[in-house]
Structures are given as structure tokens and as C-alpha cells.
Symmetry: D2
């Protein structure tokens, strides 16, 4: 179904990244990952909303950050987010978000990744809610911040 999927990468992400305290709270589901691409979906809960009832930008940012880091990890192994720019394009009160992360270019030290966050809707196509551009650092022996 997802031509980019790589079972080994998915298994590693499920064992390592998804079991952390934060991701346990977030409850994002890894749909597919591999070869520089990931797709993740997130059921939205009340504790993810800001005061107007929209999904909090921090949750959208975390989802985008995860997607970028995992897409980079799928081809570069151990990585850490260096920076990202998040544009919040439209507020959403959807009950389910979906994010696609795609590696733009993988260098020796940095991986450039973009993510697009969509709000699922009962009728009609998903609606683009946010976009991110990230620089992910490759963790190599002896490297540091």
C-alpha cells in the first residue's frame, strides 16, 4: 500500500521512538515508514486543544517534528532534530490528523525534511493544516551539539 514502507525501519521506530513517555502520551500511530518517508496519524483528544477548541500548535509541531525525525532516521539511523520551521496554515478542530514526512536531501551531517499535516474530514479531502521544514542532525560517533 505504501511503496516506501520498510518493515525493519517500522519495527525499530515502534520499539524505540514510539515507546517513549511523550509518544505514549501523544498516541500517534505509525502508518508506514521507510526510504526517507513516513506517514503517521494522530487521534485528537481534548487535552490537545487550545482555548478556541482548535488543536494546539504545540501538538501539531510535535507531530511534524516526529515525522521529520523519523523520515530522516529511516535512511540515516540515529538522528536528533536540530531545527524546524513550522507554519500553521489553518486552525483545525478535526478529530484526526495525518502527517507525511519526506526527506528532501540527506547529507553526511544534516538531513533536510519537510512535513505536511492534514486534518481528516468526514466529507471531502483532507485539509492542509500545517507545513514544516526541518534540519535533522545525523548522530555519529564522537559527534555532539
Amino acid at each position: 500500500m505504501h511503496s516506501f514502507a520498510d518493515e525493519e525501519v517500522e519495527e525499530l521506530l515502534r520499539q524505540v521512538a514510539l515507546t517513549s513517555g511523550y509518544n505514549q502520551w501523544l498516541g500517534a500511530r505509525l502508518v508506514a515508514a521507510g526510504n526517507g518517508q513516513v506517514e503517521v496519524e494522530l487521534p485528537v483528544r481534548a487535552e490537545m486543544l487550545q482555548h478556541h477548541g482548535f488543536v494546539h500548535g504545540g501538538v501539531i509541531g510535535a507531530l511534524a517534528d516526529n515525522a521529520c525525525a523519523w523520515a530522516a532516521a529511516s535512511i540515516a539511523g540515529d538522528v536528533v532534530t536540530n531545527s524546524y520551521t513550522l507554519q500553521l496554515l489553518a486552525p483545525t478542530s478535526a478529530s484526526r490528523l495525518r502527517v507525511a514526512g519526506n526527506v528532501i536531501k540527506a547529507g553526511k551531517r544534516h538531513v533536510s525534511v519537510e512535513a505536511r499535516v492534514f486534518a481528516e474530514r468526514d466529507a471531502g479531502d483532507p485539509k492542509l493544516t500545517a507545513v514544516a521544514l526541518a534540519s535533522i542532525s545525523v548522530v555519529s560517533e564522537g559527534s555532539a551539539a
Copy 2:
């Protein structure tokens, strides 16, 4: 203690922003706010950590986003985050984070804000962990994304 503090602004933020579902979960404490500046502290819990035991970038991003939006709101009223760039400067496993948000320039449509996130330490000065630069949109009658 905080020369920028404005009690009306602080009261409004506590009644509106801090009571949202997400901020109830986050548990950040508003130390002071007013005149384009805010200081917020966050007790770190296990459900905020990533798989290496460091605070997840999404939590740091949300904290920075809050600080930028609230600093903007303290002088511009109703606002919404348009975009932000977050640089994660050093991983941290501190039990308490502190963020300072400062308005750089307030225009009619956009407020430019920076935030610096520090890890509190038992001994020594707080350690700079992340920095953000945000563009916050002023919500006015008839405006939209």
C-alpha cells in the same frame, strides 16, 4: 520583581489560555506577563520525555510557542501563531524548564517575538536549551488565515 508584569494581562492569560485542555496537560506556570514579555516555568514529567530520556522537542516547541503567543497577546490582544522557527541547542533532562518570551517588534498585522528556553540546574546558572523566533498574527475583525 518582574518590572514588565501587568496584572490584568496575567489574569486574562490565566483565565483563557491556561485553562485550555492542552495547557492543563502541560502544566506550565505563568510567572509573569505584560508589556510584550512573559516568563513561564514548566515542571517536567515522565510523559514529556523522548526515548533517550531528554525532554521531547515537541514539548519544548509548545513551551516556546506559548511564550511567544502570550508575549504578543500582552500587547496586541487576540493573536494566533502564524509560524515559528525552533532551534534545539542542547538536549536536556532537567526537571524544570523556564522560558522567556520577548516581543521584538509589534506591527499592525504581525508581532515578531523571540523565546529562549532554559533548563534549570541544581548548581550553576540555567542552561540555554532552545531558542525560537516566531511570527504571531494579530486577530482583528474580519481577518482570517
Copy 3:
């Protein structure tokens, strides 16, 4: 050849944007523009290089900024760049750059646009050199910074 091309948009950009002092100096050539997309090529001259002989990041940034603003203008009329994030992915000493700008989402107040800058090569495919994510503001009656 470029399915997105719109002759009226191209004519307007050539008359307005391309005749400014800076763009006269830059010497970029509008290949095609319309419907939220643009393609621009730039012959590189010695006065565009930094001290290692690579194209200066400021030239690449200007090229990306132009591509983002023009792509936004092709569907939103008068616009002004609000912010952009530029990632310099690989240094280049190519004699010709090419940039593609694409609107990601057009809102009433902001247009989100991405640009990809490629170095042309004598042999082989163009090489991705830089990527940008921009937020372009729509200029409307009575609007201001």
C-alpha cells in the same frame, strides 16, 4: 511546455518585478509563471561568489525569495515577503542556477510557498542546492506590516 504558465502573469512580472534595480543587477530570467508556480534561471557571475568560489548564500536567498514572492503573486496579486527559512544544502560553483517556486497554500492574508534551488550541471541531473519555505503576505487595501 510549462502547463502552469500564464502569459498575463508573466508579462506583469517582467514589467514590474524584473525591472527593479536589484533584479536588473541579479539578471534572473523568468522561464515561466502562473497558477501558483514559477521557474526562474540565473546565470552566475563572479560578483555572486563568496570567498571559496561558491555562490553566496545571499544570492541563493534572493533567488528563492523572488521565486516564492512571484509564485504567490501569480495567484494573489500584490504581495510582500513576510518571512522565509532558507536551508543551504550543498555549496555550488555552478554557472547556472534554476529555482522552482510552488504555492503550498493560499489564504486570505498569507500565502505559504516553497522553493527549490538547483545547480545546473553539464552532465547529469541538476543538483539540489537549497530549499526555502516562505510566508508571503497579501497586500490589501488598508493593510500594513
Copy 4:
């Protein structure tokens, strides 16, 4: 006059960075540099303007990029810009710009730097025109993009 000035750093920047083709064209003047800080001023010429008569964002971006890279170089030696986010806060038709670059944090691999670009005015204080947040990579033996 500038407490951060370091004559060796200034000499090196003048011999290396300022003699490149692009910086010869730009004509920026290094006011002071050292210890993670720089100040640069730029006389604006007609070939730096966009079609409304304001300084082109690409020139402002190049000036900010230079300031960030030079501030980083003043403490980290050979560096290359990895990415930067530029916010254009207000259009300017000033005949002289001034930029201050300041290192926020210097790590082993990345240096975080901010820059503020001001328009000089005949009367009154300089006006903040743009702000940038950059991630500058330290070039070390064997490193690559």
C-alpha cells in the same frame, strides 16, 4: 568603542570574506567584530532596490547572513551557513542599513546566531527592519554538508 572588537578577527574577515566577489559588490563595511559579535553597515545603492523603491529582501537577507556567519566565525573559525530564518518587519528606503550579529550559543557542530537589521534615519533612532535566526555549521576536518 566596541568592547567586543578583536583586531585579529577583523583583519581576517577583511582579508578573506570581504574580498570575495559578492561582498565587493555588496560594499558592506565591517564596523567591528570579535567574541561572537559583529556590526556591519551597508550604504544602499539603486541596484539594491525592488520595484516599490524599498531595499530588496535578498539584500537584507545577504546582510543578515553575513552578520551571522561572521559572528560565528569570530569564535569558531571556518564556518558555513546551514540555514536561517529571516523576518522582514518593515519595508525601508533608507540610504544606509546597519546590522548587528550576536552568537546565542556556540556548540561543537553548530553555532546559533541572531541578527538585527536597522535602517538609519536622519532624525530619530535607527528603525528595526528585519531580524534573522541562523544555524551556522562549524567546518572541521573531514566534515561535509
